[in-house]
Symmetry: C2
């Protein structure tokens, strides 16, 4: 597959990094962006080496043979529907949303059967936001989950796989529901938790935090609106994950209350074993 | 104050780093270590630039004019008592334990009134362990909390302050109880939480973790036995901190259950505000 024109809808941290990575790896001959805010359009064009940055998503979609929607999750379904309505039937349409089930539900009945849409989620987030932090290596060696459904055309999956592999990422396939259940635990819950912990820190104790508090709460620096959208999109699975965590915290509490050293040792050892298995 | 002989009892990550930092900054003319395990004694002597590494804590304490006990928290009181029994009455005796109240309670009535003991806690931990990871800059710009009591001699506080400042650290004074309450929230709770989150990760989801999960659980890689000791030493304050966190998590859960976007926004925004105030 050769991409002539790659369109990035929403040029923030992820969209901008895809543009820069695609440029560096010669994934597409032409890379265009879409930014609704006219004040940032020139900045993101220059910062992310775009050939052009437009304000009109349809105008960009009509020219492109691959379109990646990189907006906040609660705008993705609408943008995908808008793109799919005007793009070539051979063009790939994908997104980078952190949730997948709700997007599929919102798109039900809104896409032409021939449309080559498949959901993608590059596991490459950061607490940083905006094109200013974009860099071309953000996706390198990262996992991108593709979430085809029974309606997804095999061509869309193949095109998306090639796109992400060309960006230096690894690709794995899951159903939207399995993706959402997994990410609730591996991404959405850690975010909620980091925010919950940071939220109870009184200002007068800030000077007594060290690496442990800072690491554990780092992702709480992410944009609240983005994360409210993600958590609400995936609320059923996130609630399940929260309950699992609350249950495990209550085991720690019980072991502390009774001074049960072996139980506490075992709980901490399980955490260490699981964490050590992840590497750095 | 000039330290002729500095003794480090327990040459692990912290003890070894103090030795290396003291050497680089010429804090003492002679630096000796104490390691009970004869098999590691030569290794830590070479790795941490010690002039000598002994097996006998009393032999080291008799020669030293500053002794820093760097063992796991549940051995600190015994080691301090042993050191104080034989050291010069003008020698500083301190420790680096992550808890302070329990150590003071265990030492009650066991120290000569003239003894210059004061508790210290350098906020410089890491999930890494052992002298192999020691480095001379570990304490630089870190906060060291001194926890004098009514029995503590002002000379001990002055000597400890000078020692830590000479190591490049900043020094702050708190009561043992205030220290323990603060650190329960800023250090012991994050550790418990990281372990609780890592503990619920099924092996099949490891490949779907990214930076968020890894940061949030990083400290769970710490040694379980060390942390069991810390958590049990400080159980009252840790339990209070756990309850505060559980209560905040339940606010997140309620907002998710009712789909309350403004409430979720506000909870995440508070977390972000507090986290942003800490810097990197």
């Amino acid at each position: 597959m050769t991409i002539h024109t790659l369109a990035i809808v929403g040029v923030g941290l992820i969209g901008g990094s895809i543009a820069l990575g695609a440029r560096a790896r010669r994934v597409a001959e032409r890379i265009i962006g879409v930014e609704v805010d006219p004040l940032t359009r020139d900045f993101v064009r220059d910062r992310c080496s775009l050939d052009e940055c437009l304000g009109d998503v349809a105008a960009a979609a009509r020219q492109a043979d691959a379109i990646v929607v990189c907006t906040p999750v609660d705008q993705i379904a609408d943008q995908v529907a808008r793109v799919a309505a005007v793009s070539s039937t051979t063009a790939l349409v994908t997104d980078v949303g952190s949730t997948k089930g709700q997007i599929v539900r919102e798109l039900a009945g809104r896409l032409k059967p021939a449309c080559r849409y498949v959901g993608s989620h590059p596991l490459s987030g950061s607490e940083k936001q905006g094109a200013g932090f974009a860099h071309g290596e953000l996706l390198r060696d990262k996992v991108v989950v593709l979430t085809p459904t029974e309606q997804t055309s095999p061509e869309a999956v193949e095109q998306a796989r090639h796109l992400w592999l060309a960006m230096g990422a690894r690709v794995t396939l899951m159903s939207p529901a399995a993706h959402d259940e997994a990410l609730a635990l591996t991404s959405h819950l850690p975010h909620l938790l980091a925010a919950a912990l940071a939220g109870i820190l009184p200002a007068e104790l800030r000077g007594l935090t060290a690496g442990g508090f800072r690491d554990t709460t780092r992702v709480a620096g992410g944009e609240p609106e983005l994360w409210t959208g993600i958590l609400l999109h995936n609320r059923e699975a996130v609630l399940e994950a929260v309950k699992k965590l609350e249950s495990n915290i209550s085991h720690f509490r019980a072991a502390l209350e009774t001074g049960d050293r072996p139980a506490l040792d075992a709980l901490l050892a399980l955490g260490k074993r699981n964490r050590d298995a992840l590497g750095n």
